[in-house]
């Protein structure tokens, strides 16, 4: 008996990822989000008709890591660009991949209006509570009291306001069909996140409208922790403020069986 007959392959790198190593810091869960999206696109066999819209931020080089077509949007404008791509090529699956500095700050207008119009696109929103690429500045999602390079004494809500809960905000819009928040801090939640990504793409493939998956993520370098400490910090501090859950599931989406 050969070795191949005795062993089964449990897991291998998904085909929708290129062979390029990422530029992300060790332990950054951007990589997990990339992997899950690539796995779902492989499972649904969508690689030949997916177009991604990359944002500005750490995820700016997403087009180097996914093995399908990408375009690069100006800062925060990915949902607007995705709207154009989807309307010109309605048979394609159009996704955007945005961080919190991109989507919840400068691009808040674009994503809200894309959702309000019920554009048939999917937004993956990575929330790591700061601006990672530029060196850990305070973002709209920074927690009250959280120290960043621009809030060295902790975010003071009296002068700097409160964090934005993007999933809840988008869920109030009539055009949004599938809006959920998931986390990437342990194997169970990573599996749940993958299911949510699958359902978001199913929503789009069936033409049921706007879908958004918010993924809580870690930023070990800018938080000043090891990756394992960061996972614990996410669980203890971020999840109480950003509760995991389904914020909007249209009845037609709820009927999807995968």
């Amino acid at each position: 008996m050969t070795l191949a007959e005795m062993e089964t392959l449990v897991y291998a790198r998904p085909a929708s990822l290129t062979e390029m190593p990422t530029h992300y810091c060790p332990g950054c869960t951007h990589g997990v989000a990339h992997r899950l999206i690539a796995e779902v696109i492989d499972e649904m066999n969508l690689r030949e008709r997916t177009i991604g819209v990359a944002s500005v931020g750490c995820s700016v080089f997403a087009y180097n890591y996914f093995d399908f077509d990408w375009v690069q949007a100006p800062h925060g404008r990915a949902p607007a660009m995705a709207t154009g791509v989807k309307r010109v090529l309605p048979d394609r699956v159009v996704i955007t991949y945005q961080g919190d500095g991109d989507m919840a700050s400068i691009g808040m207008g674009e994503v809200v209006h894309a959702a309000a119009r019920g554009e048939n696109i999917t937004v993956f929103f990575i929330n790591n509570a700061n601006y990672g690429m530029t060196g850990g500045q305070m973002a709209p999602t920074t927690l009250p009291g959280q120290k960043t390079t621009t809030s060295p004494r902790g975010r003071d809500v009296e002068t700097q306001g409160y964090p934005v809960r993007a999933a809840e905000l988008i869920a109030t819009l009539e055009g949004a069909s599938y809006v959920v928040r998931r986390s990437l801090h342990d194997p169970k939640n990573i599996r749940l996140a993958k299911k949510a990504i699958r359902l978001a793409l199913e929503t789009q493939v069936r033409g049921l409208g706007f879908s958004l998956v918010e993924l809580l993520s870690i930023c070990p370098t800018n938080w000043g922790m090891t990756p394992v400490q960061s996972l614990k910090w996410l669980e203890e501090h971020m999840i109480p403020y950003f509760p995991l859950g389904d914020y909007k599931i249209h009845p037609a989406v709820a009927e999807i069986k995968v």
């Binding site: 062993e7 190593p21 990756p227």
Partner: protein, 81 residues
Amino acid sequence: MPPKGRIVVNDLYCKGCELCVAACPQEVMGLDMSRLTVKGYHPATLIKEGCTGCGVCAVVCPEAAITVYREVVRPRVAAAV
């Protein structure tokens, strides 16, 4: 007996973040301190016997660096031997 498994960690991608080490339910993973990757990290590796091929390390790996194999248990063949 629990199933036997093995993992192959691709040095090109592994950055030694230790998320797999923390997540491994069998606690058989660690960093290989005797080796450095091209980027200068100590890559993750199996340090003990006991891998079951459950694939949890691959689920948490941010770099998709881990390939997981599990031995196929064939009771009939085993009985004949």
